[in-house]
């Protein structure tokens, strides 16, 4: 494939290639669409794996004093669940979507650095495998522990040699180091692609908002990931070369790790969330039949979120005993983020206002997203409110809040994105009936689980406890929370089934099933390896609108 195989197959080969040939083609591919789909399918695979780990967690917590898993097993479950969901589900979904869509949307034939692109994917996959391999590899090497059990933010000094013997923490460190390099490669690539490979006429302010947001996210990765990498290296130095950065017994600082981790960790939340916004910003206009309201305000708001999100990290640390001035600073900066986020929500609402809203599956996901993200934002304000955060931080309220952001916000947008672009990537539509089952079941399950989960936090339930006593008022709430998981699993099963069935039997999609406006819909479904027969020329932010409505094109109003 790629450079090694320049001729373009005009007809289907008579015999389909053997499985080995096809696997080989995947391993050596540098095609942005193949890599994008590989990113997305591995992410969905790890979503299922890490989701099942969460189900075991919820099984254990369904009733008080339960013994489904041992304490250490439980601690490993939530550590690996959190790490995998952030780094091996969220990050590759982002990379996959931007890989697949950015070149198509800007009228390019591939990413700027196709080989770097493949390198990034394989680094991510290697990191993910390394994390899960710790279940097998870590005990074999030293006789202590297996998977990491330090929590996904791995606070010092619990990760030091004195408290974490064996190699489990090293697996965690190395898997993040390795996949972080992959993410940096992918981010560099997106930026280079967008700034140097846009088709003729596509000025920055004519790019689809999706592309804008992916560039911003890539820029954020370049700034946010190095502190994490630095911290991981410092941790390795502490553990193996006698360093004392975080070794409190030798005068090191436990709080230093927290600063390093969260100066990565908070921008990371937006690195995961903004691609959700990116999907919503494409889907909502198309299904409202109106252009996005306030395009430049959306670009500005995204950029402002990116900048402000770099200065809010210590709101994860209001209880570590910072001075009141420090607490106040981070409270104000955190609350400021609600301003650009609010602008976005209002712009999406204004886009729908006056439109003709079609309730197709992608739009249903985005409507659920708008509702849920509003709630997630409001609980975010509660957590930014320092005195209230002293009660709520490290409680189940926080767990509910960030699952609301990442599932109710990001994942619903990603579902929308899957329904929206699946026809483009495969040439076939996803089944609507199964899709409705998926969205409905997942929606019910999500709300059963995560609406309920806020309340034990208000009743004093700390996070990361493997069990609790009866009589604290948490029993029923935890049971309902766990029951919701059943609906979520059923929903995801419908999605998986839908994808498998529709890949073979779905109705033909055609080039442009949604009557949309961006360039990816101008080529065939699935797009050929070279994306476009002739590189398109655009005159506005909605080139296909211009084609379809020559009497009233967008460029007249620019």
């Amino acid at each position: 494939m790629g450079a090694a195989n320049p001729e373009i197959p005009l007809t289907r080969p008579l015999v389909s290639p053997s499985i080995v040939t096809r696997l080989h083609a995947l391993v050596v591919t540098v095609d942005h669409k193949k890599l994008g789909l590989m990113y997305i399918s591995s992410a969905l695979f790890f979503l299922v794996v890490a989701g099942l780990m969460a189900s075991v967690i919820r099984l254990q917590l369904a009733v008080p004093n339960s013994n489904v898993v041992a304490p250490d097993t439980f601690n490993r479950l939530f550590t690996v669940h959190g790490t995998a969901m952030v780094f091996f589900v969220g990050m590759p979904i982002v990379a996959g979507l931007s890989n697949y869509l950015v070149p198509l949307m800007i009228g390019a034939r591939d990413m700027a650095f196709p080989r770097l692109n493949a390198f990034g994917f394989w680094m991510f996959l290697f990191g993910a495998v390394l994390l899960y391999f710790s279940y097998i590899g870590a005990p074999g090497m030293s006789g202590h522990g297996s998977a990491p059990d330090v929590g996904w933010f791995a606070y010092a000094p619990l990760t030091g040699r004195a408290f974490s013997r064996g190699n489990s923490t090293d697996y965690w460190t190395l898997s993040l180091l390795v996949s972080g390099i992959g993410s940096l490669a992918s981010a560099t690539n997106v930026i280079a692609t967008v700034f140097s490979m846009r088709c003729k006429g596509m000025t920055l302010m004519r790019m689809p908002l999706f592309v804008w947001m992916m560039v911003v996210v890539s820029g954020m990765m370049l700034v946010a990931l190095p502190p994490l990498t630095a911290a991981q290296i410092m941790l390795l130095v502490d553990r193996y070369l006698g360093g004392n950065f975080f070794n409190t017994q030798a005068g090191g600082s436990a709080v230093l790790w927290q600063h390093f981790f969260w100066i990565f960790g908070h921008p990371e939340v937006y690195i995961l969330m903004i691609p959700g916004f990116a999907c919503a910003s494409e889907i909502i206009p198309v299904f409202s039949r109106k252009p996005i309201f306030g395009y430049s305000a959306m670009v500005g708001a995204t950029t402002m979120i990116a900048f402000v999100s770099m200065g809010v990290w210590a709101h994860h640390m209001f209880s570590v005993g910072m001075t009141s001035v420090g607490n106040t600073f981070f409270m104000v900066s955190t609350m400021m983020i609600s301003v650009p986020t609010g602008i976005k929500i209002f712009n999406w609402l204004a886009t729908m206002y006056g439109g003709k809203i079609r309730f197709e599956l992608p739009m249903l996901c985005c409507l659920a997203f708008l509702f849920q993200f509003l709630i997630a934002g409001l609980t975010g304000i509660m957590l930014a409110a320092v005195p209230l955060d002293w009660q709520l931080t490290d409680s189940y309220f926080v767990v509910a809040h960030f699952h609301y952001v990442l599932i109710g916000g990001m994942l619903f947008c990603i579902f929308g994105g899957i329904y929206y672009w699946f026809p483009k990537a495969t040439g076939r539509m996803l089944n609507r009936k199964l899709g409705l089952w998926h969205v409905a079941l997942f929606f019910i399950g999500f709300h059963l689980t995560f609406d309920t989960m806020h309340i034990p936090g208000l009743l004093g339930m700390p996070r990361r406890i493997y069990t609790y006593d009866a009589g604290r008022g948490w029993n029923t709430l935890n049971l309902i929370t766990s029951i919701g998981v059943i609906f979520q699993i059923a929903g995801i099963a419908c999605l998986a089934l839908n994808i498998l069935i529709s890949l073979r039997k779905g109705s033909k999609a055609g080039d442009d099933p949604w009557d949309a406006w961006t360039l990816e819909w101008a080529t065939t479904s699935p797009p050929p390896e070279y994306n476009f027969e002739t590189v398109p020329v655009v005159r506005s932010a909605r080139p296909l609108w211009d084609l379809k409505h020559p009497e009233d094109p967008d460029w007249k109003y620019e």
Binding site: P71, D72, N75, D149, Y155, A156, P157, L158, A162, F163, Q249, S253, A254, V255, R289, K290, G294, Y295, S296, A297, S319, G321, S324, T328, M331, V332, M335, G342, I343, N347, A350, Y353, G354, K356, I357, L367, A368, T379, I381, M382, A385, V386, P387, L388, W390, Q391, D394, V439, A440, F443, H447, D451, H454, L458, G460, P462, R464, I465, R472, Y557
Partner: protein, 350 residues
């Protein structure tokens, strides 16, 4: 008008559920005395009350925003849905409006400004309060997975249960806690008395409580600290006026030396128990585990792992790992006879 699609009805139900649930948990169900349910809105101490009062304002602002924005969302979806028999023409293409953008930029900024001022005030009120001269000073040391509690002025060392006097309007007696850690990061959280403050090694943190109702208050370690993070519970026992002094006097005494328990005492002092535990008035001066001088005066064993009954004491010493898997107390491999003797001795430590 036909009510639109069922999917959104479910949205409405959920919204009501959240507000109902929040309202339920905010209601002061019991007027007196704490229960096991550590509701952050049912407060019994000055800093917790300051937080709860401030929270009402935050919740009110959030509720108003929620109602307005969801109202807009539902209205828009219902009003501008694609209708049957539509003429198929595209709606008017509107690109934006700078005035409107300005409006929904400035209004949130004003809201943030007001919230910030109120928040800054409450932060200062809770965080910057200094100890009055009559304040009780306590040092709380977090260990994996128990709490060491020291009263430097009273020369008392105990574990897992913090005893403080009630603070009355006529005679305010707040308690100021110094938080230290012997190993990893923990967090001290008794929701009905104050917000949480982390307990971090190599760092001096402080917090204060001013309980106004006697009773037993429950709390947890709130920062993940390893295997038994879940079984690192806290109890705060608030004594009525005058009772705290009696408790303190009893705690200051040396351990009893009951002649009948001599056999068990010998077991204790001939095994490695003494390496980790202190019993005041004896040669046992270990620092790694909890002070056992007045063991039987405490309500629980293993930092809340079990109630402190003679049967549980025996079960605990027989095999600590069965009650608290992963804790650092080993099974001492005693014979049944030695166990009986040792437990008899431990039960005299009251």
């Amino acid at each position: 008008m036909q009510f639109f699609i069922p999917n959104n009805c479910r949205l409405i139900n959920k919204a009501w559920f959240i507000f109902f649930a929040l309202g339920l948990s905010a209601a002061p169900v019991f007027a007196d005395g704490p229960s096991g349910v550590t509701n952050i809105f049912k407060t019994y101490s000055t800093p917790a009350r300051a937080i709860a009062n401030y929270t009402i304002l935050i919740l009110a602002v959030c509720a108003v925003i929620f109602v307005i924005v969801t109202g807009l969302l539902f209205y828009t979806v219902a009003r501008f849905r694609h209708r049957r028999g539509d003429d198929g023409r595209e709606p008017a293409q509107v690109y934006g409006s700078n005035q409107i953008e300005l409006a929904w930029t400035v209004i949130p900024i004003l809201i943030v400004f007001v919230l910030s001022l109120v928040t800054a005030r409450t932060i200062a009120e809770v965080q910057n309060a200094g100890p009055p001269s009559k304040a009780l000073k306590v040092t709380v040391v977090g260990h994996q997975w128990w709490w060491e509690i020291r009263y430097p002025d009273l020369n008392i060392v105990t574990a897992n249960e913090l005893h403080v006097p009630v603070s009355e309007t006529a005679q305010p007696r707040p308690s100021f806690l110094s938080l230290e850690s012997a190993d990893v990061a923990h967090s001290f959280w008794v929701p009905q008395l104050a917000g949480k403050t982390d307990v971090i090694p190599n760092r001096d943190n402080r917090m204060w409580i001013e309980p106004t109702t006697p009773g037993t208050y429950l709390g947890n370690c709130a920062e993940y600290c390893g295997t038994q993070h879940a079984r690192m519970l806290i109890r705060v026992i608030v004594h009525p006026a005058g009772e705290f002094e009696k408790w303190a006097a009893a705690q200051q005494s040396d351990a009893g030396n009951d002649a009948q328990a001599k056999a068990g005492r010998d077991v204790f002092f001939s095994t490695s128990c003494v390496n980790c535990h202190t019993i005041k008035g004896t040669e046992a001066r270990g620092k790694f585990g909890p002070d056992l001088t007045h063991l039987m005066s405490r309500q629980t064993l293993g930092s809340g792992a079990a109630l402190n009954t003679p049967e549980e004491v025996r079960a605990w010493v027989r095999n600590p790992q069965s009650l608290k898997q992963g804790c650092y107390m080993p099974d001492m491999q005693l014979t049944d006879e030695e166990m009986d003797q040792l437990v008899r001795y431990l039960l005299t430590l009251n």
